[in-house]
Subunit: 112 residues, 4 copies
């Protein structure tokens, strides 16, 4: 796989993860058992903001892409770990999107 | 007051409001009575994102400043109304920052 | 088409437009004839930031979605008009993405 | 200086840097000698986006603050180095704001 394709795949994974985090965030805020979702809500937002920065930075071939992808891996792994504790569909979908995004960022770093 | 000063005041009000919204958001997520703060948490985030866009757009003299300030007024008024319902200091401080920001945006629109 | 699908299509159009604007922006900055692309570079960034807000706001079912989509139409139309003046592939692709995004936002507003 | 004050100072330095980067960006786009400012324009934007994330992350006591501040130092130092090459007032002001922001982030990391 060439580098341009790897960029595209990683950008797509970041945007999918941003989407899943935003959906999980707003869905969690509507759940009956709200208190146990505090950390999930909080991490969804931090992770969405970081995925957004990562996707846009890659699209603009920012000179800081490596460090941003490392940050994105940290955020995605933390968010995946938290979301995977909850049985709601939106939490499970978010955990899965976070794991895929972290993996795509790792592939980027290997290729960089 | 000249236009450049009005810009500066409005940018400052938007950034102060973004700050207050972020503080209220994260403080609300830690409150014991979480369920009654759902809408407050939700609006804090939407309002912070819009204030951020407004401040940066004014700094860059974006051609869309008028429409963005109108949007910012809508968001700030909604967030102020919701936050003012709650007695927490962070909610009251946020409501006050939102009202000041909406007023600064209104002054901008009059001068524009 | 149901409302949920319309949301999805509009979010996708906004993210595609954000991507095209970011690519056009960074590609324009590398062009030899830079001076004639000043307005293109400037609008690409404003439009990307607004499309980003629009996509995320729809994902979170923000109460300000209508006004944000109206803003997005304004930005996309201005960016499309400017980019369509230039023959570079990235400008033409960006103009096309902007027009599709403006149209998707218009469909959203009709359905809302 | 206690930690809360250090947070406030660093947030303020990040927002001042974001402002200076946005002003330098839009002012550079209007300069006659545009070609030599390509890298300056490009870094202004990347740095502004990262300072924005840093300020908001600190306001929300994000668990990723350390890594984000490290990223912010990298971006600010690169932007300061580039801007300091140009004699325009906006470039010099931006270089100075970037250096202050990098220093504030460094102080944060020592205290963290």
């Amino acid at each position: 796989m060439n580098q341009e394709q790897q960029y595209k795949d990683c950008i797509e994974a970041c945007l999918q993860c941003m989407n899943a985090c935003n959906v999980c965030y707003v869905s969690s805020l509507k759940e009956y058992e709200l208190a146990m979702l505090r950390e999930c809500i909080r991490l969804d937002r931090e992770c969405a903001d970081i995925c957004d920065l990562a996707a846009q930075s890659m699209l603009r071939h920012s000179p800081f892409v490596t460090q941003i992808c490392e940050l994105c891996i940290t955020a995605c792994e933390a968010c995946a770990e938290e979301c995977s504790k909850h049985e709601h569909d939106h939490c499970q979908a978010c955990a899965e999107a976070c794991r895929r995004c972290a993996e795509a960022c790792r592939q980027m770093l290997v290729a960089a």
